[in-house]
């Protein structure tokens, strides 16, 4: 067990994340140019989609329907649980609770990739169609959370959940991920072959650069941690564990493998820091970015990367092993 933990902590992607944090704390002038960060995120999302789409083509529909419905259901459920815990236990105001709910209901693509890589490393390969689940999980949570905010009358002047839905659906993450899935589905594994050296083999290395940048950004968030208060810190660790372990448990009922269940757990537990912040900033301008970014990027992401992912795999082995 400790061995597995160490393997995870010493993987290049976790180390790159740590290097980014350390460089920022040491006030290094290291910076990833914005176009490089954008290029990496376009590449990573498209690559995930392509691989997932090609795998999806080889999977019988009957096998994926269950996991897809489960994922959709969790995408609707987790923002609601998050919102209620924040309101009732945390006494948080409605707007900020809804904003956080959108983040914790949605999904962090990098957490997904890290979980998948961890599975490969430890011999628990996850299902090839998982990227389709990422796309499914990305959408409902943001809409549900904004609907909650709307019902309660906290919504900004002109924003509605319909326009937020449009924003999310045409946002670059869904377009690239969904577009990649469609491309992979249409072209199939043979069609993918000529582009594999670029999109498949280069993938893990490109991820290292991406995590270096995430480390630099996270470090800036860590400075806001003291303002966050103990409840937010606890919430950003405990809620993901509950969501994640719950998802692992449910995944067993729809026939997912140990690896697949654990990766789904990591996805459900993770908090979005790309699609959700953009949508929430426009639709709920009164919500404090300091709160939701610190929680999603400063606490939940590093926690999952270092400890959460091994935990969800342990849970999957326990429930399904």
């Amino acid at each position: 067990m400790l061995d597995v933990l160490l393997t995870n902590l010493l993987s290049p992607i976790v180390l790159a994340f740590a290097l980014g944090i350390l460089a920022s704390l040491a006030r290094s002038d290291l910076e990833i140019p914005a176009p490089l960060y954008q290029a990496l995120s376009i590449y990573l999302l498209l690559a995930i989609g392509l691989k997932g789409g090609a795998a999806l083509r080889a999977t019988p529909l009957s096998e994926v329907v269950g996991p897809m419905l489960l994922t959709f259901g969790l995408g609707v459920l987790t923002p609601i649980t998050s919102y209620n815990v924040l309101r009732k236990l945390g006494k948080m105001d409605r707007v900020n609770a809804a904003a956080l709910a959108a983040h914790f209901g949605s999904v962090s693509a990098v957490t997904f990739i890290a979980a998948q890589a961890f599975g490969t490393l430890t011999g628990f390969e996850s299902e090839g169609y998982m990227p389709a689940l990422v796309a499914i999980l990305e959408i409902p949570a943001i809409v549900v959370a904004l609907m909650i905010a709307n019902v309660r009358g906290a919504m900004g002047e002109e924003a509605t959940w319909q326009s937020a839905l449009h924003e999310v659906l045409t946002g670059r993450s869904i377009v690239l991920l969904g577009g990649g899935l469609a491309m992979g589905l249409l072209t199939g594994p043979e069609g993918l072959e000529p582009v594999a050296p670029f999109f498949v083999e280069g993938f893990k290395g490109a991820l290292v650069l991406f995590l270096l940048e995430l480390g630099l950004v996270t470090a800036r968030r860590l400075r806001d941690l003291k303002e966050a208060g103990w409840f937010l810190v606890a919430f950003s660790i405990v809620m993901p564990i509950i969501h994640g372990v719950g998802a692992v448990w449910l995944a067993g009922f729809v026939g997912m493998s140990i690896g697949g269940a654990a990766v789904l757990g990591a996805m459900v537990s993770s908090a979005s820091y790309i699609a959700a912040p953009a949508a929430v900033r426009i639709a709920l301008p009164q919500a404090s970015p300091t709160i939701y970014l610190t929680a999603a990027l400063g606490i939940t992401f590093p926690f999952n990367l270092a400890l959460g992912i091994p935990l969800y795999f342990a849970a999957a082995e326990y429930f399904l092993g």
């Binding site: 914005a34 950004v217 009164q286 404090s288």
Partner: protein
């Protein structure tokens, strides 16, 4: 010297996320064109979203005094409170300025 006309130059610096929204909205306020550049910055409030906190857009509009007033009012009504925005106005001499009013 080619004929110039005095017009207003409105400069707006705002968080990047607002870029496309602002472009669309000022078009409806009688502004005939704009120029944008990528920018970074810090301000007295520092309240910002997005992974790239420092990323801003810097927008310039050459327009009539009336359009300038409408732009500033729009920013005040909808953006100043919750978003990272600064705006200032100057008078500039514009070549063939009649095209931009």
């Amino acid at each position: 010297m080619p004929k110039t006309i005095p017009l207003k130059l409105v400069t707006v610096v705002a968080e990047y996320l607002l870029r496309d929204k602002l472009v669309k909205e000022i078009g409806k306020l009688g502004v005939t064109g704009f120029t944008v550049t990528d920018a970074e910055g810090q301000g007295p409030r520092g309240n910002r979203a997005g992974v790239y906190e420092g990323r801003n857009v810097r927008m310039e509009c050459v327009c009539s005094p009336e359009a300038a007033t409408r732009v500033l009012k729009h920013l005040s009504d909808y953006y100043f409170e919750h978003y990272a925005v600064i705006a200032w106005v100057q008078t500039v001499e514009v070549v063939r300025g009649d095209k931009y009013v």
